[in-house]
């Protein structure tokens, strides 16, 4: 009787482990797919980050949106010497 119970428990455990393995298999596959998607997103963000650092773009933003310009010689408080021409 004891052997039968033991075999039954072992059998049920095996089934339980198999079911768990299948469930984990689905999760792993889904996470791997998500990882692939996120790698793609990361590449897109790298592009976007560099696009935002484009010096031409930053200069245009500074001039047109913030009304900034490089300081003229007369606007420098220290160090600069005026050019001859």
């Amino acid at each position: 009787l004891l052997l039968s119970v033991l075999l039954l428990v072992l059998g049920l455990s095996r089934v339980w482990l198999q079911v768990g393995q299948v469930e984990s298999g689905y999760r792993v596959a889904a996470m791997h797919e998500e990882y692939r998607e996120l790698l793609g997103v990361h590449r897109k963000l790298v592009v976007e980050w560099n696009r935002l650092q484009d010096p031409h773009y930053l200069e245009k933003l500074a001039r047109e949106n913030l009304n900034l310009h490089p300081p003229r010689d007369c606007e420098l408080f220290a160090g600069g010497r005026k050019r001859g021409n």
Binding site: Q21, G25, Y26, V28, E33, G40, R43, W49, R51, D54
Partner: protein, 583 residues
């Protein structure tokens, strides 16, 4: 009938019935066993293959096209995944209704969409490269017969920056222009197909086998371009071209120590992200593909040949005919009339007459040989597609006047890269080095080693000759030289201006009032760090190289040198954007 007889009869029937049932069951069991044997043994391979096909599928793992980066590793060209929309026409029952639902997402015309969808073809492209938002909206719609498939798109995050140098790729992912084309074999994308497990519902499942590889990138390239120097070059070039309402312009900046191309700018600019919106002429990297007449900037190489052969020394005097000289049936003019000039002053004041007379002393054969040695008339091997060799006829085909005109840079065609490389030869004490655009290939496989530009170098003139020429170029870029506008405060420049007439393709000869303005030089003159060559095509007004091109040199050098750690002597570095105006 007695009870015993009835029981006997019943038992007999029972036995017969049991036997029959047993026989049927035995037959059924035998059939099952035979069928099982048939399936498991005889047709084992077929059924195994079918089972495998049901629970295995192929996963496409991309190997992205390799990135192109600048000297410091900033990405200049990157491939990213992007969804595209396609349809199976046989599964779309109501094309008009589907088109109406697609219209707000794609923004495309409803009639155009319907026209595409009415086709019963099994595969119809609807739109390439959807935005993430569009792809998400389409997933939510889940319209029958429409599918999203993953494609890989090339992006150039810095837009127009070095557009003609980088080039672009076509829809099939093949490099079509620029670096993309030149190194397509190294960069090309690929797709790795691997087997993965799935269930009956086509859902992917992992059962202990090794995970499929992650998407990764093919070998990328690191170019020699420096993004900041490229930006400076483009900014200053555009400012000059707009200021002078010129037709076009190019700038190249070389690292004088290595002959690496730090910047290569072409105006009008070109954004490879939208290459179809441009005229194909705008795709061309004219700094490499087009030749122009360099004008007086070419006198530098005449001076080098004169000194190297001992035909003249820096103090050799030549009479410049007070600005007007009849030679071989043609009249040669100087912008400013001069009498006697030394060789140094001939270069300083850029006398055409002095150059023509000295070239005659040197002779066509020797002059031609030196021109060739400086790299003119042949490709430099910079490693970009479509490089021109320039225009240099054999010296035997020269007429008398051709030697004179070649002395002051007319009648010969050079590319911007050739002119910069030749100038760098003076900066490097007479050693010509091949200009390079490629720094390294990631994970070098050796496949392209044979095709890659090597560090080819050769001695053209003696170090002493080069130093004499450098001193003369310093005089030409000095206070009373034609290139005085080239020197930023706190630095000394060795350079030479050039103003060439432009050949008229319709009429034989040169066009009136059209010039090419040139300045080529290196800085700091005493210990060269940068070689910068500027050419502005057809500026309006006073189109002299010293007025139009030299300030571009000055403005680029003034900001690039402090950025590279070369600071002005006794002055402060120029702040970004404070440029020299020439008007």
């Amino acid at each position: 009938m007695t009870r015993a007889a009835a029981a006997e009869k019943w038992n007999k029937r029972l036995r017969v019935g049991s036997g029959a049932i047993g026989a049927v069951l035995a037959l059924a069991l035998a059939a099952v066993v035979v069928r099982a044997f048939w399936l498991q043994v005889v047709e084992h391979r077929d059924w195994k293959a079918r089972a495998e096909a049901q629970r295995r599928t192929r996963l496409q793992v991309p190997a992205y096209r390799g990135s192109i980066r600048d000297l410091s590793g900033k990405p200049l060209a990157v491939s990213i995944p992007q969804y595209s929309l396609c349809a199976d026409g046989s599964k779309i029952d109501d094309p008009a209704a589907t088109a109406k639902r697609l219209h707000p997402v794609l923004g495309a015309d409803v009639h155009d969409l319907r026209d595409k969808l009415v086709s019963k073809r099994r595969f119809i492209w609807i739109k390439h490269y959807l935005s993430d938002r569009q792809a998400s909206a389409l997933r939510d719609l889940s319209l029958p017969g429409l599918y999203l498939i993953r494609e890989y798109r090339r992006y150039y995050p810095y837009r127009q920056m070095a557009g003609q140098v980088l080039g672009f790729v076509g829809l099939d992912g093949k490099g079509l222009e620029g670096v993309e084309r030149a190194y397509d074999e190294v960069l090309q994308q690929d797709v790795l197909s691997v087997g993965v497990r799935r269930d009956g519902g086509r859902k992917r499942l992992w059962r202990g086998e090794s995970l499929p590889p992650s998407p990764e990138e093919r070998s990328g390239l690191r170019t020699t371009l420096d993004l900041f120097v490229q930006y400076l070059s483009e900014r200053e070039l555009e400012a000059a071209v707009r200021e002078w309402e010129a037709k076009s312009g190019q700038v190249i900046v070389l690292d004088a120590r290595t002959s690496e191309v730090l910047a290569l700018a072409n105006w009008p600019f070109f954004d490879p992200n939208r290459f179809r919106r441009y005229n194909p002429a705008a795709w061309r990297n004219r700094a490499v593909t087009d030749a122009f007449e360099p004008g007086s900037a070419f006198k530098v190489f005449l001076a080098a040949a004169l000194l190297e052969t001992g035909t003249a020394d820096p103090e050799t005097r030549v009479f410049c005919e007070d600005g007007r000289f009849r030679y071989a049936g043609h009249t040669i003019n100087d912008v400013h009339p001069h009498g006697w000039l030394t060789l140094t002053d001939m270069l300083r004041y850029s006398s055409n007459i002095g150059a023509a007379k000295l070239a005659e002393k040197l002779g066509a054969e020797r002059y031609h040989r030196f021109i060739r040695d400086f790299g003119f008339g042949e490709e430099t091997g910079i490693g970009l597609p479509g490089e021109a060799s320039g225009i240099l006829r054999p010296w035997r085909a020269w007429q008398n006047v051709d030697l004179a005109s070649a002395a002051f840079g007319q009648g010969v065609g050079v590319t911007l890269v050739q002119l910069a490389a030749a100038t760098n030869c003076i900066a490097n004490d007479g050693i010509w080095r091949r200009p390079r655009i490629l720094r390294e290939i990631d994970g070098e496989t050796g496949r392209l080693k044979a095709g890659r530009p090597d560090a080819g170098e050769r001695r053209v003139i003696a170090p002493e000759t080069a130093r004499w020429v450098r001193d003369m170029m310093m005089a030409a870029a000095g206070e009373d030289g034609t290139g005085s506008a080239s020197a930023p405060e706190g630095y000394r420049v060795a350079g030479k201006t050039g103003t060439a007439q432009v050949a008229d393709s319709k009429a034989a000869g040169y066009a009136e009032n059209l010039n090419t303005s040139v300045f080529t030089g290196f800085i700091p003159a005493e210990n060269p760090r940068l070689v910068i060559t500027v050419v502005i095509h057809e500026p309006k007004g006073r189109g002299f190289g010293g007025v139009v091109a030299a300030p571009v040199f000055c403005n680029i050098a003034a900001e690039a040198l402090p950025y590279l750690g070369v600071f002005p002597s006794g002055g402060t570095a120029r702040l970004a954007g404070n440029r020299v105006k020439t008007h």
